[in-house]
Amino acid sequence: MMDEEFPPLPRDLTEVLTKLLSNPNVASKEWVVRYYDHEVRGNTVIKPLQGKLGMRGPGDATVIKPLEGSFRGLAIAVGVNPWFTALDPYKGGQASVDEACRNLTAVGGIPHSLTDCLNFGNPEKPERLGEFREAVKGIGDMASALNLAIPSGNVSFYNETSMGACLPTATVLGLGIVPDIRKCVTTDLKEEGNPIYVVGETRHEMAGSLLFREFAGKGGMVPGVSPEALKASMDHLQGCFERSLIRACHDISDGGLAVALAEMCIGGDLGVNADIVAMGKLPSAAKLFSESHSRWLVEVDRKREDEWLQRMKVPNVKIGLVGGKMLVIEDKDVLVDVEVGQLRKAWSEPLWKLLG
């Protein structure tokens, strides 16, 4: 591990947030989503774009209801982080499984099985083969620990030119069972006054993060994965989905908590007043932008908050309330203060501009 060099950031973290939202890897994929018929057969229950009609916010997973006579559904989601994999191939492989699982969980699905799509450089070069070996081991160990089958997969090598190899890209696609599609949840915020919780532990894990990539941070820790902690959080969340305590849920990945929170505002066309002091002693920028795994943001039905607190015996912390049309985040000082409309613009437009 390299010593961390935290990059200098603009004083106003709103500027940082909107820049991260506009990164092509984070920005809305509407350009391509709308280009394909994702509703054919009339059984797409949870769509790839979510939220208030016309707001087209992001989704973590899609859900189809394959059988006319049953409310069971299939959730489908992917996970991948080539930057983590480049820095630490084993953790990168684990990260793909973790992300796929938390995406499935976020709509109310129970992870059932996985498949993968592994794109790497020339395996005749020892370091490329080493990367591949470790990434596959990471995926396999996670799948074993979570008891998920990987019945299929696909490998593509030699993705390399004289300029170098592609980033080691170990994509995992997860399939989840939704016991009752009528209890599915989307990422968009629903109702003013509902509390928002962060589920899972936020650590100072900045290596490979979107923040470090955009602002030239160096070194640091690649986020680690604990399958036991992931499993515990998924089980507790599933209990809450089952009882319909959750109104919105979004996994925390690229860009960290701040990006995930902004995305929930975009779909719901609602603001949030957040105070992240309760997240502990980490630097504010780490609380906002660290990409620690196995985390979700959850909007809880305020009338049933007690029930939520009783059930959630895994790390979780309340960070604010849904309300208004501004996203305001404080950590003693005001860090972010921005209109939801401005967040939507920053997130929605980049791919249309890049791809025409």
Partner: protein
């Protein structure tokens, strides 16, 4: 007649891909739909598979990419119907039996001359076209439609005029066009004959531009019927919102997700009509 006795022909060829959900919508109304390949109607198949159009009460042309959308969307399916089944289709329509074309089905009805059909049940040449969307892209997107029909259209007889419904769109060629020199006259005819069934609107209820109208259709038209009101074509997909749980925003409110979706009324109106007629 009971709903169960209402026989629906859901007609398909290669490339049709919305026959399951279209048949399911009629089935869920209590009717008896059957997915029928065109070859079964023109008897180009083993004897036990042969079917006759006249035995059905409703004809549904589902969405998809029939014959790969080659030439023009719907053109090949329409040409094949026209060459082998013209008489039967003409008789079916003239008998005032309901015919619905959704998305690719609407394109087929226009190519066939069953819509707008100003002069006869089936015009010899197409009188309109569903042309490439203004965006030049395939558009899969929720669309809001205002019901504009004054009551002659069988498929919207249970939907109050002025009501706004959400049927999703998914097409690349949905821009209704007329020959330029006939544009004004045809639009007037559509109004006079009460042939406009749906127009695209935005969430404020105003006639919509892009993307609420995903294609740039003339006069924001999303769906038409013939002057007799028994043939309806529309680009958006009512069969995809038969249930509330396939609406894009159902997770946002407290309505029962297994309750009715906006599209149900289309199938209900048609089946009710046939049941009442006996």
């Amino acid at each position: 007649m009971r709903a169960n006795d209402v026989k629906v022909c859901v007609l398909r060829i290669e490339g049709t891909n919305c026959e399951e959900e279209t048949a399911a919508a009629f089935y869920n109304m209590g009717a008896s739909p059957e997915k029928v390949h065109l070859k079964q109607l023109i008897h180009s198949c083993p004897e036990e598979m042969r079917r006759n159009l006249e035995d059905y009460d409703i004809l549904a042309l589902p969405g998809g990419f029939s014959a790969g959308d080659y030439v023009r969307a719907g053109a090949i399916f329409a040409a094949r119907i026209k060459s082998a089944l013209s008489k039967q289709v003409d008789e079916f329509v003239s008998a005032h039996k309901p015919v619905i074309g959704i998305c690719n089905g609407f394109q087929i009805l226009v190519e066939l001359g069953l819509l707008p059909a100003f002069e006869a049940a089936m015009s010899r040449e197409p009188q309109a076209a569903l042309y490439t969307n203004d965006s030049a892209r395939f558009e899969c997107i929720p669309t809001l439609l205002r019901h504009e029909n004054s009551g002659n259209c069988i498929f919207t007889s249970s939907l109050p005029k002025g009501e706004v419904v959400m049927f999703p769109s998914a097409h690349a060629e949905g821009k209704l066009m007329f020959e330029t020199h006939e544009e004004r006259r045809y639009l007037d005819l559509l109004e006079k004959n009460h042939q406009v069934v749906f127009r695209y609107v935005d969430p404020e209820g105003r006639y919509a531009g892009y993307p609420w109208s995903p294609n740039g259709s003339i006069s924001s038209i999303a769906g038409l019927c013939n002057p007799a009101g028994n043939v309806m074509g529309l680009m958006p997909h009512p069969e995809r919102v038969f249930h509330r749980y396939t609406h894009p925003d159902w997770t946002r409110d407290s309505r029962d997700p297994s309750g009715d979706g906006d599209g149900k009324v289309i199938f209900q109106s048609a089946v009710d009509h046939v049941v009442k007629k006996g």
